[in-house]
Symmetry: C2
Subunit: 504 residues, 2 copies
Amino acid sequence: MFESAELGRTVSKSQFAKRSTPLREELLRLQSEYMAQARRQIILVLAGVDGGGKSESITLLNEWMDPRWLITNAYEPPNEVERRLPFFWRYWRDLPPRGRIGMFLSAWYSEPFLDRVHGRIDSRAYENHLERVMRFERALAEDGAVIVKLWMHLSHDAQERRLRNLEKDPLTEARVTERDWENWRAYDRFIEVAERTISRTHTGPAPWIIVEGADRPYRSLAVAEVVRDALKRALAPLPEHPEPEEPVKKKKGRKIKARKELAEDLTVLSSLDMDKKLDKKQYEQHLGVLQADLHHLHLRAKDKGIASVLVFEGPDSAGKGGAIRRICTALYPRNYQVYGVAKPTDEEAAQHYLWRFWRTVPRDGQIAIFDRSWYGRVLVERVEGFAGDNEWRRAYGEINDFEQQFTDHGIVLMKFWIHITKEEQLRRFKAREKTPHKRWKLTEEDWRNREKWDLYEHAVHDMVQYTSTPRARWTLVEGNDKRHARIEVLRGFCENLRQAIGDR
Amino acid sequence: MFESAELGRTVSKSQFAKRSTPLREELLRLQSEYMAQARRQIILVLAGVDGGGKSESITLLNEWMDPRWLITNAYEPPNEVERRLPFFWRYWRDLPPRGRIGMFLSAWYSEPFLDRVHGRIDSRAYENHLERVMRFERALAEDGAVIVKLWMHLSHDAQERRLRNLEKDPLTEARVTERDWENWRAYDRFIEVAERTISRTHTGPAPWIIVEGADRPYRSLAVAEVVRDALKRALAPLPEHPEPEEPVKKKKGRKIKARKELAEDLTVLSSLDMDKKLDKKQYEQHLGVLQADLHHLHLRAKDKGIASVLVFEGPDSAGKGGAIRRICTALYPRNYQVYGVAKPTDEEAAQHYLWRFWRTVPRDGQIAIFDRSWYGRVLVERVEGFAGDNEWRRAYGEINDFEQQFTDHGIVLMKFWIHITKEEQLRRFKAREKTPHKRWKLTEEDWRNREKWDLYEHAVHDMVQYTSTPRARWTLVEGNDKRHARIEVLRGFCENLRQAIGDR
């Protein structure tokens, strides 16, 4: 794989001078256009052989371009806070907003790569990691990000020469560490893992570009040209909500059944017994017992560092807020945070739609409760057409990936769909209109959403079907009777916490 | 001070029912109005005797109000990351945006308070802390924040009863810790420090309200009423750029001299020798030596965990970017970040104007470089009238406080004003117009700013005069010759780093 990067390419001083001036001008011009458009993100990964020029390349770009809109991200092994969060958390946090260029030094390739080189993880664990990397990059690329990954290469001999030269120069000697020599001694193994990594993660939307790193002028021009091309790609318009290539075909087995049900207007919601009720006395008994349970279970979960994420979805006035409050009352306020999902801020809008939710990942036994959530993508955004067809269709997979990172990390994830019938909603809307201190809760939009009841019901059906995964199942709750719904939610959360703690 | 909070006030069950319903309705109504306006921030501090009902009060507010727009902030002793940042960093980070309510459990009052109670810090250190607290709260209040601090009180006996009752109830027993009993045994000392704390930090814009905590219904109503009143205050319009009450009077000594100079159109900039020059050969010699110096000095600073903040201000085209690049070239890109200060994002605009800069505080030997900075408040915002008279006038003090937190924390802070003459600027503008790849750098605004040259010069004069403090001096750099300016900047930074490392 690396033969062509060991050819000993060089660029003479005069060639360099001749070629670099127009290139620098072009970079500056393209960068200012890219900034003004702010349509996509550019993500530049710099990885490769130690001494191959990763760091110098970033210095070069900072010198040739406007450094105020470049963001350098380098990573140490995760600190105390980072260790308590899913692997990709810090990379999501550091993504550049659209119009900026994020330069990532090895980043999500680094630790697992070296772990594999030095035999600290096995091939299977490493393949899993590469799989997660690909999904991460794909999610960003599908959102419009331009991702370019540079592999700065040196032959074994060239690396030795380079490290010795770095050590000789007082400006760079400190950069050569024992770790670099360790990696050099493991060169063959290093290259073997690199070949596997590159061949596995070299994808259309996130390609690797191998750059011969030995000759500085050659390397500088090569890197700058890569960035120039990335800028050009980033200036291309985004596809406008493209339609899927073909209408979805009927598939065998369960899917067909689902389609058939849909055709008859039956959805997963049709099977709910919406008459379920609980009288006041029973309710209060259950409530007391379950809240005490929850209280204790959560303290034990907290001791074990188990965090929870609770998602509440449901039609307007389904009683999400009431159910959430019954949970909160049982907890210490320092241990939970309720998030109402409203319009994204402009910082959030300048990122992938899941980015804002990465900001809220709970840690250390904390509980994050979402009153509406990332499922807006496949509910309101689908029904109202805010998301293009391709966007909401691929969101199921993106959301499953997103949630898997929570559950892989040991976070308890529960998703509640609190359902009410169309008639019950009407009754509640009318009651709200009559109660002065509840009237503000009812808006024009609520009435408009009601008109699209059937469309929403189909969207819910698809959502439940495609995003109920073994460790992140949907719990459908009959909500016509608020007491029943609240008890079901509390009971469900208690059961899941108990399982997570290990009280099976 | 606490006598009136030990009167044994109670509210009967029927009184509570009667009074709570309209109060809850009012809270909901006011909260939704407050959210819609998003004009101010509400900051609620809950402190007091253990068992006094801090935590229950937050639970109550979450139950009575819409919890999606309430943010609870509780703090453990600072973690690995937080310890490496100034004390107030995490409190700034957690401030609620306008339209939300931030509830802070003890927060900036907690650790130093207990340190004082248990004799771990002396009175002088504690008084210094209270002074910093007051400045922090004042800065927020002057920006329009409504700050209310609740002291939940219990008598010695009532606290003992309360802790015993909490221990008996399975829902709350876990909440009583050995630390609570320790504080109870130190009750007299606790109260003594509390009296000092409250009397010192009870200010007009950030008052303490002492609430008798023994009777739950009484306490609940009292807390809810405090929040209701805070919401009402938060709905009041902000003063529209109020004029200072009286014209600034002449003062004795140095100030008079400054005024006199101004009258004669002399400013701190007048004393600069704008003809200073460096020939190319000298420049290249100095540059090489200083960049190598900087490189090594920074590595040593990094080893010692010394972070740096560099501020660059100056007229358009003064050469700030060029000077910054000469610094960057000497550093590893992972060790610095250049920030260009543009229009605030909407998340930033929903906070105090200094909030966005708290996001960029460097840690662990990192360097943050600002191409324009928080000084915009007293430069462009003053000259263009974006900030009201009172706003920019009080900004000098706010900025000094802000910077003091950096220097107190051991961060090396340097501020460079790179100056050019009006004639030199014209020459550069014209040159830019002629160079295709530099033309984009020149905007209409640059020409407009030029017309206000004298106003800017006076603003710079005031800025340098009021914000050159012993550990955060302005360095005025003659910039007509770019080579001279770059060398001066490099030399200045090297000197400061050397001092900070201890090479005096």
